[in-house]
C-alpha cells in the first residue's frame, strides 16, 4: 500500500466537501459537507500515523480529538438550525438575509 493512495482519496473527499459547502442551500446539508471534510482530515491523520509509527500513536489520538470536536460541532450546529427554523420557517441559508446590508 502506498501512502499516496490514502492521501489522494482524502483529497477527493475534501474536494467533495468543499463543493457541497458552496453549492448547498440547506443548512443541514452544509453541516453534512463539513463532516465530509473532517472525515478526509481523519483519513490523512491515520494514514500518516501508520507511516510514521510514533510510539504514542499521536496521529490516531488526534483523529479521536477531531471526531470529538466534530460531534460537539454537530450538536451545537443542529441546535442553531432548529432555532432558525422555528423563527424563520426555513432552513435555507439564502433566505436568512436579516443581517445582510
Amino acid at each position: 500500500m502506498l501512502l499516496n493512495q490514502f492521501l489522494i482519496l482524502a483529497a477527493a473527499l475534501f474536494a467533495f466537501g468543499v463543493y457541497g459547502l458552496l453549492v448547498r442551500r440547506n443548512i443541514v446539508l452544509i453541516l453534512l459537507s463539513v463532516e465530509l471534510m473532517l472525515n478526509a482530515v481523519n483519513i490523512n491523520l491515520v494514514a500518516f500515523e501508520s507511516v510514521l509509527a510514533t510510539s504514542q500513536a499521536v496521529g490516531q489520538v488526534f483523529a479521536i480529538f477531531v471526531i470529538t470536536v466534530a460531534a460537539a460541532e454537530v450538536g451545537i450546529g443542529l441546535a442553531i438550525v432548529l432555532l432558525i427554523f422555528r423563527n424563520r420557517k426555513s432552513a435555507n441559508v439564502d433566505e436568512l438575509s436579516l443581517m445582510r446590508w
Binding site: A10, V23, R25, L31, E35, L36, N39, A79, N92
Partner: protein, 183 residues
C-alpha cells in the same frame, strides 16, 4: 514500484473497492436531491472510512468512528432533517443555481492537494505489519502526553451539551409560565 506490482497486491484490491464505495457515497452526499438520502449516504462514506482505518491497523479509531459518527452524529442529522421539514419526498431547490464556480473551485482544491501529496511523498509505502495499534497505547497516550487536550475536549463536550440545550429550548410564554407554576 510499478503499476503491475501495485495491482498484484490483494490488499490494493480491497482498498480500491472500499475507495470506490467511499467516493461514490461521498459524491452522492453532496449531489443527492433528497435530504434523508444525503444523510444515509454519509453512513456509507463513514463506514468505508472505518474499513480503511482497519486496513491501516487503527482498530480503536475505526470503532470510535462507527460508534460516534454512524451511531450518534448521523442519527442527530436525521433528527435535524425530520424536524426542519415535514414531507420526505423529493426536495426541490436544495442546491444553489450557481454550480460551475464551486465545481471549478473544488476541482482546484483536489488538484492542489493531490499534487502536493504526490510531490511530497511520491511512492512512499505503508508497512503492513499486521499488528493493530493496541488500545492500551492510545489510552496511555490520552492520559499521559495528551491529558490536558483530553480534559479540554471533555469540557468542550460539556459546554456543547449545555449550549445545545439552552439554544434549542423553547422559552415558555408568560401564560405557560403561570400554568407551570400553578401546578
Amino acid at each position: 514500484m510499478s503499476l503491475v506490482d501495485w495491482v498484484s497486491e490483494p490488499v490494493n484490491w480491497v482498498f480500491s473497492a472500499i475507495a470506490l464505495a467511499v467516493l461514490f457515497s461521498g459524491f452522492r452526499v453532496v449531489t443527492s436531491q433528497n435530504l434523508v438520502h444525503a444523510a444515509l449516504f454519509l453512513v456509507g462514506t463513514l463506514g468505508g472510512t472505518a474499513a480503511l482505518f482497519l486496513m491501516l491497523s487503527a482498530e480503536f479509531v475505526a470503532w470510535v468512528l462507527v460508534l460516534v459518527y454512524i451511531g450518534a452524529v448521523v442519527v442527530l442529522f436525521l433528527f435535524g432533517i425530520m424536524i426542519t421539514r415535514a414531507p420526505t419526498g423529493l426536495d426541490v431547490g436544495l442546491d444553489a443555481d450557481e454550480r460551475l464556480v464551486p465545481a471549478i473551485l473544488s476541482a482546484a482544491v483536489f488538484v492542489m492537494l493531490a499534487w502536493a501529496s504526490v510531490d511530497a511523498f511520491g511512492l512512499r509505502e505503508i508497512a503492513t505489519t499486521g499488528t493493530a495499534t493496541s488500545t492500551e497505547v492510545i489510552g496511555e497516550s490520552l492520559l499521559g502526553r495528551f491529558v490536558v487536550p483530553f480534559e479540554v475536549v471533555s469540557f468542550v463536550l460539556l459546554a456543547a451539551l449545555i449550549g445545545g440545550i439552552t439554544i434549542a429550548r423553547r422559552d415558555l410564554t408568560p401564560v405557560e409560565e403561570q400554568e407551570r407554576l400553578s401546578v
